[in-house]
């Protein structure tokens, strides 16, 4: 340190007595090199994480396990991919084999040389207790990938994107401009001090102005220029596209949506008392080709809703086994009709809900049960006890065409866990006959709806009218809630969403801090009886609570 500092002091003390042009040249070159280094340091390769992405939560019904697979954000390549597997109550212990496979294409043969091959594997040993079990795999490059999970009998594949941190051209221009301007300020000062003729100052001064112009222009444009289409979300991802999305922009369009899909349903068995392996094949409605562009939506590639003969609801998440091919096991506890509906989203936007036109008919067998009590016989809100947890449902006026607030109090403590990114799920099917077999009725019901809850509703947001089915609200309120208060702080907290503590992504199922009130706002479009199921997670157990509601006709205005 002292050795290097000494010449500097000498130079400062005797600036005019050491007019060696080599020293000045060295100083000038140092300034230039510093500027270039600054430019390189702020180049797009190390810029802001505008394409950083977040954690990917994917629910998977793999055999008899209902799992939530969380792919943590990859912050650099090559680097680790942390995979967390969250298990629920009753999930059998065992091992899962994980494998990471790069996919996609590239204009560079060397970059694409490893695509389609397994580059890393890991084993996750699931315990019998619900919780999170983790593994780490290495990913080698940015681009589209697939993670496969195998329990030895079935293999699920989850497409995902390993992003690369990129900077928009406008931001790069701003960085470059300001960096250059900073360097040229120094140069300008040096020239102004050293040069005998003042007009030499104009040269670096002109460059300084040019750099500032570029920087300000880039800064102004950065907020206005359109973002490139999302690789994998809006357009098919390629390795080149992920690495440099701005270079692959191509023709800009505001509509990336794709045609609707068709659903083919088949089952390995139709005998009640057995477990049916359901195969679901998705095809493009326009071309008939296998539909291989399903993206993760609401925490799953596909949400499968199945309603049994006596009103049992399954909300499952079939695993992807190939292009447009999904599989899920479905227990057939009793004979009768099972109505099946699938929700998913194609790349480019737009969620689709497809109800199987046929559903599934299970015939009697020796293993089938003959009685069922899953569906409530009488219409109305009120209390139900499911898995030892009391659930109390209240509703504002159940009138067709008017927004109804359905509030379920699940237990008495704020310990609900977000499932699929939501505090609660509401499934509505109707209008239908309240007395006929539920499976057959739901198959031909005109309406299937799936609504979500982000928590409680502030009191001021709705008034409950005390209909025949909602006699009063008093019993539904906890001891900490004041009937006269407006939105309490806890309710407002619930309405603030599921943002995690660090504000990066949504809270996952490990956070048991929501509820106990779960509110839904739904407008029944027509009068009649509706089958309603409310789902929430508590103590790592998914609770499914059935109700039968009667919606009256539109109120007449005086």
């Amino acid at each position: 340190m002292n050795d290097s500092a000494a010449p500097t002091r000498e130079c400062d003390t005797f600036p005019r007595t050491a007019p060696d042009p080599r020293h000045r040249l060295g100083a000038a070159l140092a300034v230039v090199l510093t500027a270039v280094a600054l430019i390189l340091a702020m180049s797009p390769q190390a810029g802001a994480d505008s394409n950083g992405g977040g954690d990917l939560h994917v629910a998977q019904t793999l055999g008899d396990r209902e799992l939530t697979v969380i792919l943590r954000r990859v912050t650099g390549v090559p680097g680790p991919l942390h995979v967390d597997v969250f298990t629920h109550a009753g999930t059998p212990a065992g091992a899962l084999n994980l494998a990471a496979v790069p996919t996609g294409v590239s204009s560079s043969a060397s970059v694409a040389s490893a695509t389609g091959t397994v580059v890393d594997t890991a084993v996750v040993t699931l315990g019998s207790r619900p919780g999170t079990y983790s593994a780490v795999l290495d990913v080698t490059q940015a681009g589209p990938w697939e993670l496969s999970l195998s329990d030895g009998q079935r293999t699920a594949t989850i497409p995902f994107i390993v992003p690369k941190q990129t900077t928009s051209p406008a931001e790069s221009a701003a960085y470059l401009g300001f960096s250059g301007a900073g360097a040229l300020i120094l140069v300008t000062v040096v020239v102004a001090v050293r040069a005998r003729r003042g007009w030499w100052t104009l040269v670096p001064g002109g460059g300084l102005v040019a750099c500032l112009t570029v920087a300000v222009t880039g800064a102004l444009l950065s907020s206005q220029l359109p973002l490139p289409p999302s690789q994998g979300g809006q357009v098919d991802a390629t390795i080149d596209g992920v690495n440099d999305p701005y270079a692959s922009v191509g023709q800009q369009t505001g509509d990336y949506s794709r045609p609707p899909a068709t659903l083919l349903l088949s089952s390995s068995t139709d005998r009640a008392g057995e477990i049916a392996e359901l195969q679901l094949k998705l095809s493009d409605a326009a071309t008939g080709l296998p539909l291989d562009d399903v993206v993760v939506h609401d925490g799953a590639l596909m949400h499968l809703l199945a309603i049994g003969p006596s009103g049992q609801l399954w909300h499952l998440h079939p695993v992807r086994t190939g292009p447009g091919a999904f599989e899920v096991p479905l227990s057939l506890p009793e004979a009768g009709h099972y109505a099946v509906s699938a929700e998913f989203a194609r790349r480019g936007g737009g969620v689709q809900q497809l109800r199987s036109a046929t559903g599934l008919d299970a015939v009697s067998s020796s293993g089938a049960r003959t009685t069922a009590g899953d569906a409530p016989a009488q219409a109305g809100t009120g209390s139900r006890t499911v898995a030892g947890v009391e659930v109390r449902l209240s509703a504002s006026s159940l009138v067709a065409g008017k927004a109804t607030v359905l509030t379920a109090r699940v237990g008495d403590t704020a310990t609900l866990q977000p499932w699929l990114g939501m505090v609660g799920h509401l499934i509505v099917v109707g209008p239908l006959s309240p007395t006929a077999a539920v499976g057959a009725q739901t198959q031909k019901a005109q309406l299937w709806a799936h609504s979500h809850s982000m928590g409680a509703m502030p009191d001021s947001a709705h008034e409950e009218s005390g209909t025949q089915e909602t006699p009063h609200r008093g019993p539904h309120r906890g001891p900490h809630s004041s009937p006269t208060s407006s939105a309490s702080s806890s309710e407002l907290h619930s309405m603030s969403g599921l943002t995690s503590v660090n504000g990066d992504g949504i809270a996952d199922e490990t956070v048991a801090a929501y509820g106990p009130d779960v509110a839904f706002v739904y407008t029944f479009p027509a009068a009649g009886y509706y089958r309603v199921w409310i789902q929430a997670e508590r103590d790592n157990t998914l609770l499914t609570v059935p109700y039968l509601l009667h919606v009256t006709g539109t109120e007449k205005t005086p």
């Binding site: 294409v105 470059l176 030499w200 570029v214 191509g250």
Partner: protein
């Protein structure tokens, strides 16, 4: 300051200013002028070459004219395993997912050991197409998707 030192200083300043200005302009304009894709010398001008792979093969697709109209397509299939294998049957198709347009499955004619050729594949409109290459052989069928933007 000596004249020579001044000249060096001026030269350095000029070079720095020009360099910075050029880099800034390049950074602002180059990404919006459309991506240029590298292609080998053996492919036609304007052709696009993309490489993908399966667990068994490395597949390279070359689209001679990625513009609206009819284009020739070349496919190169190289087995990852050097062991001798029977020549696969290669089929090429294309779809425009956003519009729901599809091109019939076109059998690729084998022109050499691992090279296949399709003379005319129709691309009826611009957009983000998917070229589908199916490789049948050794008792299995591999299917690769090559996304490619087709210009007007």
């Amino acid at each position: 300051m000596s004249p020579s030192g001044r000249r060096f200083l001026v030269a350095a300043v000029l070079v720095a200013a020009i360099l910075l200005t050029a880099l800034s302009v390049h950074a602002l304009w180059a990404p919006w002028s459309g991506g240029t894709r590298p292609a080998s010398d053996s492919v036609p001008r304007g052709a696009v070459t993309l490489t993908g792979g399966t667990a068994h093969d490395v597949v390279t697709l070359t689209v001679s004219a990625p513009v609206t109209g009819v284009t020739a397509v070349d496919v190169r299939v190289v087995a990852r395993n050097a062991a001798v294998r029977s020549s696969p049957v290669v089929t090429v198709s294309a779809v425009l997912p956003t519009a729901g347009h599809a091109v019939p499955d076109l059998p690729a004619i084998r022109v050499s050991d691992n090279s296949y050729h399709v003379a005319g594949l129709p691309l009826m409109m611009p957009g983000r197409w998917e070229f589908l290459v199916a490789v049948d052989g050794d008792g299995r069928r591999d299917r690769l998707v090559f996304p490619l933007t087709v210009s007007p």
